[in-house]
Amino acid sequence: MRFQGKVVLVTGGSRGIGRGISEMFAREGASVIVNYAQEADSGPFSGAANQLVSALQAAGGKAVAYSADVSRSAEVNDMVLFARKQFGRIDILVNNAGICPFAEFLDLTEEVWDRVFAVNLKGTFLCSQAVARQMVEQGIRGRIVCISSVGAVAGTTFQSHYCPTKAGVNLFVKSIATALGPHGINVNSVMPGCILTDLSEPQFLASPEVEQSYVEKIPVGRLGAPADVAAAVGFLASEEAAYINGASLVVDGGLIAHL
């Protein structure tokens, strides 16, 4: 139970990779604030955040769901206040919330471009600043882990909006690692490759041939699982990673080693 007594905020923590991260922290003893956006909790996934929290609690974990749009500063500030009232502090922030609506570049609209930047990059800024301010005020030697992507270093046809947001996240991480390091706050990023989740399943498992086309590009011969990413986040958030700061940890089974 590496994170016993720690308070963790996971943005976008109810589905996809974020869900795996929330599960890992709850299993390892932390109190987890599972942030989610209303748009991710609708349709077939309506109630996903509360269902996850119930499941974590049933397994003996401590978790609470909190709805906030990370791209809106008022909602982010309210969320951090909520965390402080509820748990007294935040020790670990995982900036995981992100969206990637695939789009043909020639048809990509300004609205979609702005929304992807607002959630992926501005949201990471707003949450990092709000949480870091509180950590510094309380003298907490905390951790911030941002979920980037291998898309930060390799362009892809239908992600001309998403990839630059992730490259931005990587450089944001390097920048605030130098700003927050002297306060004893480590900031790092994890760059997942092809991870099979409820969100990516339609893409990776569209057909056996499509799945095979992804798998054969991955040297270790399989798609990743949310738990693979969560394990890397857990390491970076742990005491053993006390001297790792400003690093980007790629979790992709070797995908970009030959790109």
Partner: protein, 272 residues
């Protein structure tokens, strides 16, 4: 169950990354980062095969570790050394799961003062020996069990170095080799990664300071102060900092991480 789910199901959530039943061959194990890594991996339950050309420190290390471990006294530079060490390891332990290429030399010298002999010493130790040991070990690893290879890189390999061009070139090549080995052996279930420290005060630095003092005219205190200042976390690294990252990379928790060169430098490399 798909492969990803199976992979995750066999994981343990033990704090110290459970390596029980695994055999770890560590080069340069007699001192510095190699020694710290041997301590750390033994703590996680691995059987250590400590390889070093210095006999007494290597035997002393093996004696100091709890449990049963082995020493192989060997200079890894000769052409057949890699094959011999791997065969000897298999004879001692019956299997090989983890290789940590920690053996290395570092010289600081102005670029126009590097002699061909010094160039060869650095490249042979830091690059050539690492390559042939990695290949010999990967070939000997069990197909079903997989394995991992972890190299010691350096911040010097990430950027140019006016006063250590040979060392920087060797470490940059190690990062490249890491990707090639990862591609070549991924299908065999072997991950290959490199960890990149900046300044960690080990025995190697005693000599480094003497060389740097001669070139820069600065005292070791002045040099240390400058480096700490340039590090966002405001301290130098410890051998344990590096060994902890190696333990993570050697564990099942990192089974989807391969071909990577990962910094463990407190943020030093962001500012230089």
């Amino acid at each position: 169950m798909d492969l990803a789910t199976k992979e995750v199901a066999k994981r343990s959530s033990a704090i110290l990354y459970d390596l029980k039943g695994k055999v770890a061959l560590i080069t340069g194990a007699g001192s510095g980062l190699g020694k710290a890594t041997a301590d750390r991996l033994a703590t996680s339950g691995a059987m250590i095969i400590a390889v070093d050309r210095e006999e007494s420190s290597t035997r002393e290390l093996v004696k100091s570790l709890p449990g049963r471990h082995h020493a192989i006294v060997k200079d890894l530079r000769p052409a057949l050394a890699a094959r011999d060490v791997v065969e000897h390891s298999l004879a001692l332990a019956g299997r090989l799961d983890i290789v940590v290429n920690s053996a290395g030399v570092c010289h600081f010298n102005r670029i126009n003062e590097i002699s061909p002999e010094e160039w060869d010493e650095v490249l042979e130790t830091d690059l050539r020996a690492l390559h042939f040991l990695s290949v010999a070990a990967a070939e000997a690893m069990d197909e079903a069990a997989g394995g991992c290879i972890i190299n010691l890189g350096s911040n010097a390999g990430r950027k140019g170095r006016a006063m250590g061009a040979h060392y920087a070139a060797a470490k940059a090549a190690v990062a490249s080799l890491t990707e090639s080995l990862a591609l070549a052996y991924g299908a065999k279930g072997i991950t290959v990664n490199t960890v990149c420290p900046a300044v960690v005060l080990t025995g190697m630095w005693e000599r480094n300071f003497a060389e740097l003092a001669r070139i820069t005219g600065k005292t070791s205190e002045q040099l240390l102060g400058g480096w700490i200042d340039a590090t966002p976390l405001k301290r130098l690294g410890t051998p344990e900092d590096v060994a902890n990252l190696i333990a993570f990379l050697a564990s099942d928790d990192a089974s989807f991480i391969t071909g990577q060169t990962i910094n463990v430098c407190g943020g030093f490399m962001l500012t230089c």
